[in-house]
């Protein structure tokens, strides 16, 4: 039973990570790419770590898996935010993007 659950988690996680990578490759601009790498990437890594915890099922592994998932949830959006912010401020061209109000002035683009 644990093996089936683990296999399903690894496959799903691998799929999410693969599509996240594909998204970085083929989506049209840097900010949309960040959507793929943060959301699908985090979920994929989380699922794989959950599979590791289910398979080994001992205290040391479970605490490490939980801690790693927590750190991923904290750091992935921060990294995406920093990359997106740097791209926006340095004036990278954005694909068909409607920029609202005076965002450009307020964010020193």
């Amino acid at each position: 039973m644990a093996e089936i659950v683990m296999a399903a988690l690894v496959l799903l996680g691998g799929f999410f990570c693969f599509v996240a990578g594909l998204g970085v490759l083929r989506l049209p601009d840097v900010l949309i790419r960040m959507h793929a790498s943060t959301k699908a990437g985090t979920l994929g890594s989380g699922l794989i770590l959950a599979a590791v915890a289910v398979y080994f099922a001992d205290t040391a592994t479970i605490t490490r898996a939980v801690a790693t998932i927590l750190f991923l949830l904290i750091t992935a959006p921060v990294a995406a935010h920093m990359i997106g912010r740097a791209a926006f401020r340095s004036g990278v061209e954005l694909w068909k993007t409607k920029i609202e109000d005076d965002a450009e002035r307020k964010l020193n683009r």
Partner: protein
């Protein structure tokens, strides 16, 4: 926070008395301890608030995991289908969350929920700029984030 300390003391006591000082022993002790505290609520002033907070945090975590799955599926759909249907836009959202921790939590959660990515916060910390993948109706997105993630975070933090 007092009730929380008490709950941890109960968990440690349970683990020590059953001779099972492991993660699962502590977890069982913690669960039994909170059950005992819940039953004896009238004796401990402030425990109603503690259990309300626990409930709000659990709600935040469950809703957040659900949103993370929805957003990943949405991103995957956009990656795997041949045309890009995204209509991106940058939207300003006034922030009600106060304090660095609340803002950090709100912006992090917004980055991980469907179709939105925190882009930047203005220097005075009261406007958040988000990048939305489907920005046909900015007001709807603003309303959804304010009534959803931001409200849940403020409720859980205060």
């Amino acid at each position: 926070m007092n009730i929380f300390t008490l709950n941890i003391v109960l968990a440690v006591a349970w683990a020590a008395l059953t001779g099972n000082v492991t993660l699962s022993g502590l977890a069982v002790g913690f669960a039994l301890g909170s059950a005992a505290l819940y039953v004896t609520r009238p004796l401990f002033p402030g425990s109603d608030r503690y259990f309300k907070r626990v409930w709000l945090w659990s709600k935040l975590i469950v809703l957040f995991l659900y949103e993370l799955v929805v957003s990943s599926v949405q991103v995957i759909w956009d990656v795997l289908t041949p045309q890009h249907k995204a209509r991106p836009g940058i939207i300003a959202m006034p922030l009600d969350a106060k304090g660095e921790m609340e803002i950090l939590l709100v912006t992090n959660l917004i980055s991980l929920t469907p179709g939105t990515l925190s882009l930047d916060v203005t220097d005075d910390c009261n406007t958040l700029y988000i990048h939305a993948m489907f920005a046909d109706d900015p007001d709807a997105i603003r309303a959804q984030l304010k009534g959803g993630m931001e409200r849940w975070v403020i409720e859980a933090m205060e």
